[in-house]
């Protein structure tokens, strides 16, 4: 096309701090709120609970909070994937329970090593997602119905597997349980990881800005990049330091964070991620653009169920047991609520991997705060329900605002 007469290109808008701020503001006005509401909400929740009970923000309690968050967080990460393509998986709780049961039966009852039992459980999750995808693509059954059937059916398999005794205890000296309960990052390593994270953020931002400048596109200033990295260094450093005053940062939480970062990379930097957002935004447009929409749906279901299975194994390891209520109760709804509270749109196409992290912190904070106040689960359900409604409300209002801006 180069021989076409090209006219002077419309100038890309100028870069710099102020421009960045203006773009952000425009986005918010246009209804693209991002993680803003949930961060604000988290701040409010922490302030309220801390004023009601000073133990809430103690190092011990926050260490517990991180450990409790990991398993539901991983499940929620899978829910984010499914929501991004505009579908839903209501069976993540049942899958997590089933995979925990499979792992426990293989590991304890059959005496297989963990390196066999855990992958087998995860593989099962993978297969369930694939089956969901096939049913969805071939017969067009709404995902709501497929996974509702999965919720019941897989719960049945879970109970059947555990048999009449109804529970399997994992030995306390097993590597799995130790990983979930006792494995903490040594302080020196935790600080090193913080420095690596901040340096990595700066390095990638700097490389990107340089590439943009080389292509004479506006780029953020080095000063802003530096400020951002220092902010991250200070924030993470303080958090890690605070956690290190007691037990420190659990490896299980690090695993969760690593999964969040990996999924974030996949969603935001790869063709596959772009396809996921496209299918969630406008499946027909994605199809016309040549994207294999069915494969994207299947992969999203598989990611959802696989991560649910991983979360189930982590929860079992943390509890050192699998019983009939594993993955039951509020696990399912907490995982879905976390994804939505974190800013993943139920309408598809909007949200990030960080939604799972932020959302699960909100959910677990509420749960932990109410437990500290000696309020029982009835209150927990009510408050979580209210927060969920609020989050979905914000999403819906933002969506309406987007629509009105889009048509403006």
């Amino acid at each position: 096309m180069t021989e076409l007469r090209t006219r002077p290109a419309p100038a890309p808008p100028p870069g710099g701090l102020r421009a960045a701020a203006r773009t952000t503001l425009d986005r918010v006005r246009g209804g693209d709120l991002g993680v803003l509401p949930v961060v604000a909400g988290l701040a409010v929740i922490w302030t309220v609970f801390q004023s009601l009970n000073p133990i809430f923000l103690s190092s011990t309690n926050l260490v517990n909070l991180t450990l409790e968050s990991a398993s539901v967080g991983v499940i929620s990460l899978g829910v984010v994937c499914v929501l991004l393509v505009g579908q839903i998986d209501l069976s993540v709780g049942s899958i997590s329970g089933l995979s925990a049961a499979v792992m426990a039966v293989l590991y304890v009852d059959r005496g297989l090593p963990a390196v066999v039992a855990v992958p087998a459980a995860v593989l099962l999750g993978c297969v369930i997602g694939w089956v969901y995808g096939q049913i969805f693509n071939r017969f067009g059954v709404p995902s709501f119905v497929i996974t509702l059937a999965g919720l019941l059916g897989l719960l049945g398999v879970h109970l059947w597997l555990l048999g009449p005794k109804g529970a399997v205890n994992l030995p306390f000296d097993s590597g799995l349980v130790r990983f979930a309960q006792l494995a903490f990052v040594p302080p020196w390593l935790s600080y090193t990881l913080v420095v690596v994270a901040a340096a990595g953020l700066f390095a990638s931002g700097h490389a990107h800005a340089r590439a943009r400048r080389a292509a004479s596109l506006p780029a953020v200033s080095t000063r802003w990049l530096l400020a951002r990295s220092v902010l991250l260094l200070a924030g993470l450093g303080a958090a890690v330091h605070y956690l290190n005053r007691t037990r420190g940062v659990g490896w299980m939480f690090v695993l969760f964070l690593a999964l969040v970062l990996a999924l974030h990379y996949v969603l935001s930097r790869t063709r596959y991620g772009r396809a996921v957002y496209a299918v969630g935004g406008n499946a027909e447009a994605a199809r016309r653009a040549g994207i294999d929409v069915r494969r994207v749906y299947t992969s999203a279901f598989v990611l959802g169920t696989t991560l649910a299975a991983v979360g189930g194994v982590l929860a079992a390891a943390r509890l050192a047991a699998v019983n009939q209520s594993s993955g039951g109760g509020d696990v399912n709804l907490n995982a879905i609520a976390a994804a939505v509270i974190g800013g993943t749109s139920l309408f598809g196409g909007r949200g990030t991997a960080f939604a799972a992290l932020l959302g699960v912190l909100v959910i677990q904070s509420i749960s932990s705060g109410l437990t500290l106040l000696n309020l029982d689960s009835s209150f927990r359900f009510m408050v979580t329900g209210a927060v969920l409604l609020l989050a979905v409300g914000v999403d819906s209002v933002a969506r309406r605002s987007r629509a009105s801006h889009g048509r403006a």
Partner: protein, 295 residues
């Protein structure tokens, strides 16, 4: 280049009980602009979608160049070098402009090359004199005309051989319309085949080499644009000339009967010169209102 003619023969398509297309023929040669015109529901978009691989045809053959081709999906159309601007634009509102331009055609690699994509995006948009403030805003935040420009720019991305434009100027302002018409001429001069669906006779007269009329899903005449009057085209569109049995080949001696007075007056707005003032959207409204009273 004569070998690379895209030819449709006997294309039919039904949606349930609705026969959207019946036995339709259409040719477009390299370096030629064919305008497809017809009333609302005449089957124009369906024809475009069949070529774009959105719907498979129920019957008929498509040949491209020397051989027969089967377009069973959008990927097939892309592979053949057929690029499409759909009437509904088919953009993902949640993705930004760059994301939409490159959707499904991102450069390969472990990591998306956002910088290269953005540079190319500005270049493509510059070619259309696009009035777009940022390529990093979600398409939801763009105006209808800006979106249409994005959709047109997208069709140029992969060096197509044939470009299908379904009402490409429907939402565009005066300057952008002129720019798109210019672009169509440039594409033609470069040897691309262009199929343009339009309701705007001024646009059609301005760029088309041939005008193919669809009526109720059937061919209703193909005219050489230079030799046909606007009235003749309108007569073929509305069917006022049905008795005159217009031929399928390009001919100046097309429909003779003048359109009814009512129709002619309703379309008076389309008589404006190429740098028209009335936008296509405006002149669609009376047409729709007319449908009920059409014989």
């Amino acid at each position: 280049m004569d070998g690379d003619v895209l030819a449709l023969r006997g294309i039919s398509k039904t949606f349930g009980a609705v026969a959207a297309l019946t036995d339709v023929d259409l040719d477009v040669a390299p370096g030629e602009v064919v305008a497809v015109v017809g009333d609302n529901g005449a089957g124009k978009s369906t024809l475009v979608k069949i070529l774009a691989g959105v719907h498979p045809p129920d019957a008929g053959t498509i040949t491209f160049g020397s051989g027969r081709v089967v377009i069973s999906g959008p990927a097939d159309a892309h592979r053949l070098g057929i690029a499409t601007v759909f009437q509904d634009l088919a953009l993902c509102e949640n993705l930004d402009v760059v994301g939409n331009l490159f959707l499904g055609r991102e450069p390969r690699g472990l990591r998306l090359d956002e910088v290269a994509m953005e540079v190319r995006s500005w270049e493509l948009l510059g070619r259309l004199s696009a009035n777009i403030p940022s390529v990093r805003v979600p398409v939801a935040a763009l105006s209808g005309g800006q979106r249409q420009t994005v959709a047109i720019a997208r069709s140029l991305l992969a060096d197509p051989r044939v470009v299908l434009l379904d009402e490409p100027t429907a939402a565009l302002g005066v300057a952008q319309t002129a720019e798109v018409l210019n672009l169509i001429r440039r594409l033609r001069d470069r040897g691309l085949g262009v199929i343009m669906v339009s309701h705007n006779m001024a646009d059609v007269k301005a760029v088309a080499d041939r005008v193919a009329v669809l009526r109720l899903g059937r061919n209703n005449g193909v005219f050489a644009a230079g030799e046909v009057t606007q009235e003749d085209i309108i007569a073929a569109i509305t069917g006022a000339a049905d008795n005159a049995a217009p031929g399928r080949t390009a001919s100046a001696s097309g429909p003779a009967e003048p359109p009814s007075g009512r129709t002619a007056s309703a379309r008076a707005g389309t008589e404006s010169p190429p740098g028209r003032t009335a936008s296509a959207r405006d002149d669609r409204e009376p047409r729709r209102a007319e449908e009920g009273s059409r014989p």
